[in-house]
């Protein structure tokens, strides 16, 4: 079912028109935006956010607050950025060691979009060396009918963990782990703690620096009790009973070289980088598929991505990247017909401590407190708070290395934890 709203708001309004259009009104900190006064932020959001407001969402306008880089990341950028070059085809970095490759973006540079996206690849947050979000739910719900989400699946995820092999600034060995195979990173997802029919499921992905190498992905399937090699060709297909596809994680999770990128411009838009709520808090029904928190004006890069891969589900991605932090504030996704299809909206809070009683860091960390992905055409959403509301801890480790042990991965973020035998060993 494709809602009339989506049809109406489809591709015509997306992208460039909004980005170049004049501001119709302005908002001030403390204002509450709902569907009744959403014209006030029309120049600060795209139709996807208007769709959310029209379905009961609420935005509180907050003060802009700057986001600083972690000290070691900043030092590495200052040290190495001058030597970094982008190859002529834009598919690989040359002489990059660590830190942000291209801290200064010239909007007139024909490679500006690629440089922004390579900066995104080597972004400072949530961890430049490794990170893990653990013990959190992914709540999948039907949001048609306008009476609130009707939950159909809840996936309780043990770990979502990443270990970067190069560009490391915090955990020894730096700047690169022993890396004869050329890994960019390794991802570990799972084990799923629930639901029971998927309990124990876990995945492992290897991403290579070389753009010509496809990912290697392995999945432990509890119904088969085996580790299976997965095809990584169809990364735009939503997995299991939820709306998010692997390429959409974090806003974009594919290889930078797998898309044609277009620089649409810079603009002031709204995003949640200093959320008040920890854990992320859902709006009351009927918008319980969305978080309610403080949005602030952010200067963003607008980047359009069109996949080079055959049989990609989406026509294009429209990514809004915060200029300071390279965090995706949100992302609009269009189908092949150019109609608005999905939106991925991120919720961050920058703080030294998640909540009382949890570790206190010496620098502010980007607690990626969650996201929601909404399929506006079938009116279905997946709402993912991390940590979950029931999690006692802050649900995160940043650059923790071996110290980031969790019940699902007691080794912490070390290479030995990201292996097929580990998937086998913990399979049940």
């Amino acid at each position: 079912m494709i809602s009339r709203t989506v049809r109406f708001l489809g591709g015509a309004l997306a992208g460039l028109v909004l980005l170049s259009g004049p501001a119709l009104a302005d908002v001030s900190p403390g204002e509450i935006i709902t569907k009744d006064n959403m014209d006030k932020i029309k120049s600060l959001v795209t139709p996807s956010i208007e769709w959310v407001l029209r379905h009961g969402g609420k935005i509180e306008i907050g003060e802009y607050k700057p986001v600083a880089w972690p000290r070691r990341y900043k030092e590495a950028t200052e040290k190495y950025a001058g030597q970094v070059r982008l190859s002529a085809d834009g598919l690989q970095l040359e002489n990059h060691v660590a830190g942000m490759p291209f801290p200064k973006i010239d909007p007139n540079d024909p490679q500006a979009a690629l440089k922004v996206m390579w900066n995104y690849e080597y972004r400072p947050y949530p961890g430049s060396d490794d990170f893990v979000e653990y013990d959190f739910p992914a709540i999948s719900m039907d949001i048609s009918g306008g009476a609130g989400g009707k939950v159909d699946r809840v996936f309780q995820i043990g770990d979502s963990r990443r270990l970067y092999y190069n560009g490391r600034v915090a955990v020894d060995p730096k700047p690169e782990l022993p890396n004869p195979k050329g890994f960019r990173f390794q991802d570990l997802l799972g084990p799923l703690l629930g639901p029971y029919d998927l309990k124990g499921l876990g995945g492992l992905t290897y991403r290579y620096i070389d753009a010509s190498k496809q990912d290697d992905t392995f999945l432990y399937l509890p119904s088969l009790r085996r580790v299976r090699r997965l095809s990584t060709a169809q990364r735009s297909s939503a997995l299991f009973g939820q709306d998010a596809d692997p390429d959409s994680y974090w806003g974009y999770a594919g290889h930078i070289a797998w898309m044609d990128w277009k620089f649409l411009g810079e603009k002031e838009m709204l995003g949640v980088l200093h959320g008040k709520e920890f854990p992320m808090k859902a709006c009351p029904p009927p918008a319980d598929f969305m978080f309610c928190d403080v949005w602030e004006k952010r200067q963003v890069y607008a980047i359009e991505g069109v996949s080079k891969l055959p049989q990609y589900a989406y026509g294009k991605r429209l990514i809004f990247l915060d200029k300071e932090s390279y965090i995706v504030t949100y992302e609009d996704i269009f189908d092949k017909a150019g109609q608005l299809w999905k939106v991925w909206i991120d919720h961050y809070t920058m703080r030294k401590q998640g909540k009382p009683g949890t570790p206190l860091y010496d620098e502010e960390q980007a607690f990626y407190t969650g996201f929601t992905m909404i399929d506006m055409q079938v009116e279905h959403a997946t709402y993912v708070p991390h940590p979950g509301p029931e999690t006692a801890s802050d649900g995160w480790y940043f650059n923790g290395g071996a110290d980031s042990a969790t019940p699902g991965t007691p080794d912490g973020s070390v290479p030995g934890a990201f292996t097929v035998p580990k998937l086998i060993a913990r399979g049940q």
């Binding site: 699946r153 029971y196 055959p310 049989q311 097929v420």
Partner: protein, 631 residues
């Protein structure tokens, strides 16, 4: 198998307490928030409550209610060591990284034995067995006996996982299943460590997610398993060694016969009280195996209670083994008789090719194609009425009974005059075999699919032989190769589903009998079973080369809450047949899964009700309705 606690044995209070406990559990589960886990510190509970109903529909105007199964599954997990502390009391961080206990308990009540549906149930030969139409295959069994088999109470798994702190080694000790190989679709070339319990629902019960398929069929065993994670070795990545030892038990394939209607749709060929034709007339089969292997008349076993056996259909005589179709000439728990071991090494080769090399030294099991056999310990010189040499050993001449006596077969209800009693001097022969195997997996970018391959070579495998001249024991030890190649390819079919791919799995299963002989016979639908097949010379011989293909396609709709799947399996050689499975799963909320399945089969050019379909599949077109509450 424990008896059902019920009022019949004076347990009304027990039943009441059980009901209250179940209601309390149900209340606790229902009171949770959507998707919330049941956990108490290091302890977590999960499981499901499931009801499965199967209607067999061999023709459009026929149906039989063959299963009403109610299953409760409970998993208990206890994180014993967390952050180096054992139960929060003892610091073990110097040598243990983590330790966890998992138990999986399954209790099943088959209320079909209470419902005792009507007379539609049929044996695999297409007959309803004479008086079966009158008494019904289940109703004909005394109520107390039905009740005894209705309950299965099974601690399926119970193991301790632990990782060492300073070595890349982990262990799993306890009751578990070992699953090797990478062929998914019904080819158990290397997935043969644990035999199957085919009493669950033969081997054709499929499913999508959760506790389904072989995972629920494997006969778990107390096992020690070790896994060493070597990491990278030069160009090799993910190098590992996994080894197991099953020291104290061996469980061969378990089969049940009618009146377990969902299982093998045949009657126990060794059941007591049946009348079989032999040269010279009819005799009554005694349900005792001569596990001594002594072919001498009456053997040296004394105290055989023939009268009792004939009257009850049972075999109460001490010293003689009762037929359960699963015990051979070994002590089931003696490590000198049953210890089984295996090891495999695996690695990710250059070009991201996954490889494992496997070795197993185990006893033969019958559910892996062509393995396991019934052996005759010695020639008897006896020929049955159907002409099978050495088929049975006749004791009629020394029979203590008076010749000629009217006997009623308890299964068929047929009364016939017999001349004596026979006892079958056979053994279930499940010798040790060597199995060598290899698996490969590779993601091929150009076809955007994953290729999986698996091959197992079994050495000295027992095969049933009719070549009595060369194989007086009716068994040949020979080699066998089982292999499978599969392609998994997620594929967009956007007109049918815009948002999610169709996962398409296709597989070719190959069996190769290098020392083939026309006199070798397959199992279980062997041509040596009298009257089972019309064209006995061509059906179910053990072929030199057997081929089976399978394709499974599934996708998801509506945010993943609707999951359709279709499967097609075709056996091209042993008994030409084709089977389709249509599955539709609907998840209305986080707790409930509703599923319907329909499976239907055809033989080569024959209609669905042809009585000459392969033995275990014929007339097994079934409609499955399943509802699951999970927590």
């Amino acid at each position: 198998m424990p008896r059902l606690v019920c009022c019949r044995v004076g347990g009304c209070k027990t039943v009441a307490r059980s009901v209250i406990a179940w209601l309390a559990l149900a209340g606790m589960l229902l009171a949770r928030e959507a998707g919330a886990r049941i956990s108490y510190g290091p302890v977590s509970l999960s499981g499901n409550l499931e009801t499965q109903n199967i209607l067999r529909v061999p023709d459009v105007d026929q149906w039989s209610f063959v299963q009403q199964r109610n299953t409760f599954r409970l998993e208990y997990e206890h994180a014993l060591v967390q952050k180096g502390s054992l139960l929060g009391m003892l610091d073990v961080s110097s040598f243990l990284r983590q330790a966890k206990l998992l138990t999986y308990y399954r209790v099943v009540y088959d209320s079909i034995f209470d419902l005792a549906p009507g007379p539609r149930l049929e044996a695999a030969d297409g007959s309803r067995g004479g008086a079966l139409d009158d008494i019904g295959p289940i109703r004909g069994v005394p109520r107390n006996e039905r009740t005894d088999v209705a309950l299965e109470n099974n601690l399926r798994e119970m193991y301790l996982d632990f990782d060492l702190r300073n070595l890349p080694v982990s262990f799993r000790l306890g009751k578990q299943q070992i699953v090797w190989g990478n062929a998914n679709l019904n080819q158990r070339a290397l997935d043969s460590v644990n035999a199957l319990d085919l009493t669950w629902h033969f081997n054709i019960e499929s499913g999508l997610l959760g506790r389904v398929g072989f995972s629920e069929l494997r006969r778990t065993a107390w096992t020690a398993k070790m896994l060493v994670n070597f990491g990278d070795w030069g160009p090799l990545g993910n190098v590992f060694l996994e080894a197991y030892d099953i020291p104290f038990e061996f469980h061969p394939t378990k089969v049940r016969f009618l009146p377990h209607p969902w299982s093998f749709a045949g009657r126990n060929p060794f059941r007591g009280g049946q009348v079989i034709p032999v040269q010279g007339g009819l005799v009554n089969l005694m349900p005792c195996f001569d596990f001594t292997g002594n072919p001498a008349i009456n053997s040296d076993v004394t105290g055989i209670d023939f009268e009792s056996s004939l009257a009850t259909g049972k075999c109460p005589t001490p010293g003689l083994q009762v037929s359960r179709a699963e015990q051979g000439l070994f002590d089931q728990n003696d490590p000198f008789d049953v210890n089984q071991v295996g090891a495999r090494v695996g690695a990710l080769l250059p070009y991201s090719i996954g490889l494992t090399l496997n070795y197993m030294y185990r006893r033969a099991i019958a559910d892996v194609s062509g393995t396991g056999a019934v052996r005759q310990p010695a020639a008897t010189g006896f020929t049955s009425a159907q002409g099978q040499a050495n088929f049975v050993h006749l004791f009629a001449s020394d029979n203590p009974l008076t010749p000629t006596r009217d006997v009623t077969d308890p299964a068929t209800g047929e009364t016939r005059t017999v001349q004596g009693v026979i006892r079958i001097p056979i053994e279930f022969y499940m010798p040790y075999v060597h199995v060598f195997g290899v698996t490969l997996d590779y993601f091929e970018e150009h076809i955007a699919g994953v290729i999986n391959a698996e091959m197992a070579w079994s050495h000295n495998n027992p095969i049933v032989s009719n070549n009595i001249a060369e194989d007086p024991m009716a068994v040949r030890r020979t080699d066998m190769v089982l292999a499978a190649v599969s392609l998994d390819r997620p594929t967009w079919i956007t007109p049918l589903n815009k948002g999610r791919v169709f996962d398409i799995q296709s597989q070719l299963n190959v069996g190769w009998q290098p020392f083939h002989d026309d006199l070798f016979v397959g199992s279980p639908a062997s041509k040596s079973i009298p009257g089972q097949f019309r064209d006995e010379v061509s059906v179910d011989e053990l072929e030199e080369l057997t081929l089976l293909t399978a394709i499974v396609v599934n996708t998801t709709y509506w945010g993943g809450s609707v999951i359709p799947a279709v499967a097609w399996v075709s056996d091209w050689t042993v008994a030409p047949l084709m089977r389709w499975d249509l599955i539709l799963q609907y998840l209305p909320n986080p707790w409930v899964i509703l599923e319907t399945q329909f499976r239907v089969g055809w033989t080569n050019g024959r209609t669905a009700d042809d009585r000459f379909r392969q033995g275990f599949l014929r007339r097994r077109d079934e409609l499955v309705l399943k509802a699951t509450y999970q927590f």
